[in-house]
Amino acid sequence: MLTIEAAERSDVGTDLLTRLAGFTAFLHGNGYGVSAADTVDIVDAAAQTGILNQAILRWNLKSLLCKRFEEWQRFDALFDAYFLPPNKCVFVQRDAAPGTEEVTSGGNDDGAHESPATAKHGEADAAAAAGHGASREENLSSTDFSELNQADQARKVEALMRRLARRLKHLVVRREVRSQRGRRLDLQSTIRQSVSTGGTPLRFAWKTRRRVRPRLVLLLDVSRSMNAYSFFYLRLARALCNELKDVHCFIFHTRITSVAEALRDPDPWRAQERLNVLAVGWGGGTRIGECLQEFNRVQGSRLVHSRTGVIIFSDGYDTGDTALLADALGTLRRRARRMIWLNPLLNQPDFTPVARGMRTAMPYLDLLAPGGDLAAIERVLPQLIESLQ
């Protein structure tokens, strides 16, 4: 970022400049979508307003470097971690939802070279044990995510998801757009075009129905009873995340956590590290209702709209309150366009939805389908696409 000339002028100004520039790198390490251009911007802004007033610096950097709500929420904590000495971090506002704050450590030395890989697993464990919703049922042992990167099944899963994605791209909505060949005459356009032929409409303009891809929200149950399927579903989710832009993936057990960012990470090993941090509690108990309610409260209004398909991957074994589950599912159902539940146990010939959670969920679902392995998902694909229509 800085030229040699600047480095040679090792005065106070350069040090401050390095520190300021290092903040962008620090945010980048924490998963912010910031670039070198942003560094130039913050230096520009600093030139306009000075840097000696902490509040102004904070507001300026916040509006320049945050690009979305999640980043906005985490910013104050990161700012304090980087710029304030540790004992002054007291006024950090931690009203963010639990699980959204995975601050990589060590912002107080020159944090410019921190990478997410340094986020310490042990710390995350300790944090979970100390508070936010951790329970006795929660599994605190670490999970081995290396399985996610094995190539044996990966290619088949990717191929299948690519097929699903391609089919989804062809969904249409009622809204019409102009097109070369269409179903209906676009009168306005036709008259407009006729101007060039002296008012005689020689060429017709047409309208056709617009294509639109639905947004997908994937909710993966990773509790103990789902152990045999969790990795398969996670792989499925990752393949889908890489195919389509508007896919949002969450894992839940006793808490719910967003893993979309981690799954999209192009570096497989870094993705694994990030999942390690996120997956505290993997393979523990299940409280579907509470998790869905948490999801509704934190993400629901932002993420789920009338073009959203919600797909839940779960066996429906629930230890939580069924009334809560019904309530949460009802809320989610009203917001979303379609609600689909893939149950791996449905494959078994003698299956009846006896699991408490499953029985509660039945009235709210548009589609309940089996999905224990690749073949089952493949069979159910046409139904899936039809119900997302």
Binding site: T49, C66, V195, R210
Partner: protein, 316 residues
Amino acid sequence: MGRFCRLAARSFGQEKGVTLAADRTADIAGLQGQLEAAGYIAEASLAATLLLTLDLGRPLLVEGDAGVGKTEIAKAFATVRSARLIRLQCYEGLDVHAAMYEWNYQRQLLAIKLLEQDDRPLAAKEKDIFSETYLLKRPLLEAISCDEPPVLLIDEVDRADEAFEAYLLELLSDFQISIPELGTVHAITRPLVIITSNGTRELSDALRRRCLYQFIEYPDFAKELAIVKIKAPQAADQLARQVVAFVQQVRRMELQKKPGIAETLDWTAALLHMGITVINDDGAERIIDTLSALIKTRDDRTGFTPDVVARIAATC
């Protein structure tokens, strides 16, 4: 390099830096005052961001729940700067002809018929037909062809589709619009662009990268009270306090639609209209009659039994 040296000299020199920061603090307070005079209560952080938007000439992207006053920012800011407010309301299916420009083809047709009798050469006639006289300016073209820099409000950009977003990006980076028949129209002055989004669709990273970002939360008690006092001065102090406390309680409940600031003001008006001057648990029945101004869905409404209302009212 020059930039960095200048910066080190300008900003990081101690005394200069202190004056800069002091000036800025004064500016921010000043802008807050002006916005308040225009009927908008802004936190210092928002005022600071607005000033930065002016300094850097970048668009400002405002997100937040419905009813937190995103659109009002643009209106108040236009009043403060005594600039024109040009508003583009986005919707699904919004296209270039509704957002940028359209030829007035009825008039053009008429002109063609009239020009048939004209002896001028064809090229001249054509030039005449495709002149600015026949151009209908839509908000975006209007915004870049004003003499004084206006405030351009692009409302609910998430409702328009991705293709429009891409078109918008082009405008926001170059501030020029190319019209095939007429040529390229360059901006006379750069409008101040405020974009709002409700998050019905994820915006592209490219658009986010280009903008400054501000997330507006529901107001806290003090801020909302100040707003009620400005917007509904006829409400007595005690009632205003109680109304705000009540609404703040309601927002903490699990509701499908949380009441925004507009709902608070509506409800205040409704209470005044019903002649209710104090909120207490005795008057729960009468309060329920006015709740339609505050609670907007049937499911939410069923939760407000007289008991619940009385309980909330008792804490106000």
